[in-house]
Symmetry: C2
Subunit: 264 residues, 2 copies
Amino acid sequence: MNATRALGTVYLVGAGPGAPDLLTMRAVRLLERADIVFHDALVHPGTLAIAARAELVAVGKRCGKHSTAQRFINKRLVDAAQRHAVVVRLKGGDPMLFGRAQEEIDALDAAGVPWDIVPGVTAALAAAAEVGVSLTQRGVARSVAFATPRVGEGEQASDWVRSIAAADSGAIYMGVGQAATIAAALIAAGKAASTPIAVVENASLPQARTQFLTLAQLPQLDASAWSGPATILFGPQFASAARAAAPGVAETRELQQAHGKRTA
Amino acid sequence: MNATRALGTVYLVGAGPGAPDLLTMRAVRLLERADIVFHDALVHPGTLAIAARAELVAVGKRCGKHSTAQRFINKRLVDAAQRHAVVVRLKGGDPMLFGRAQEEIDALDAAGVPWDIVPGVTAALAAAAEVGVSLTQRGVARSVAFATPRVGEGEQASDWVRSIAAADSGAIYMGVGQAATIAAALIAAGKAASTPIAVVENASLPQARTQFLTLAQLPQLDASAWSGPATILFGPQFASAARAAAPGVAETRELQQAHGKRTA
């Protein structure tokens, strides 16, 4: 036996979109067994409470400090596997979609630490459930693109616009703070200014809010009023949901229920 | 009180990619309470077993018979809500992504039946977890497109090719039977013939299999050897996973473990 041999396994686990009961059963069982949990800043306290016997370590990153922070997280995961049997890296949504999982997988591989991935419910799907509008629809939207305008330190701005412009419908992650830039880029790429949009904040949580608008109206979105995690959905299918909503008003679940659009 | 007033609620629930423990907690609790469950053909028997007190009704559709079958399912959901408190419509993956949820939501709305959506883990994310390669990666793949070449009866072939060709990475659902057509269409749309591909069958289940190839090699895929639900993933990030695998061989979990790529 090698004294430096890894004893534990690191599980990269999707925490889902927010509501603790949207964790998978597999995630719940791992959290219950976990010795230590490294979690994103936005994970719900009710989700962290499931990890009753674990040491909890917040590893949220600040914008512009990405690279250093990620290398430090990688190192902490490798180190934790030397001391603990069950190490959980808990990420909002799904680890393999805008979760920066690859850097951690590669670091674990390089150190010979065994790992596994537990997929989760990604934010765009919870947002579609919140609005009650399917991301794909027969004859209306057969392709969906997911992208983010958010770019890490020292990284090239990516060509995300082209993929979103080419898809029938789509979801933009972490984009509310750049609403005007997104609208200008998509219109320049040929997306119609009349494209229906739904902005969904805190999808799956009781404080969820939705606002319907068009791509042309997107720059009017008041980013300071959207402090929770939000997803921008677009596609022709959001037009009918928009017609049922009060124009220009962020719709709470109570309003949706009053409109008879969803059960309690 | 109106005698025809709906008594029950219809829950459109994502069954996840296959493994019963990749259901969300919310889905499990609904299945435990369900009076009747209308389920897709491919839902795992272990998942159906959770609905211990429910009547189970398989509503799998056959290709080419879609429209009639969907109207019949819509009617059965509305009818069931008149007789049962908790009606579950259980769909593989997530209801809002290639799940034909909208037709059912619209039918329930038209009949005044209350409904709610429980999102699930979609197949592409389970496939990425199976391969151990993130769909998005900093500086490599910032946008992902999901599409299917599958078209219902009387429906126009959609422009799914353009969206997939424009994205950095992507997932094609229900495409293994049309591998040659997909490869030709994507190459004609400008995707490089050398684009790395991973075909993942039965993601999240013990019998999962993965084969790595390039877009140019995709037509060689023997569709008859892929009988389970399969997802075609593509993107530059699958090249390194392909290098670690045996060329041209479908890789089982045992092989992945032998390569030291994943824990048991």
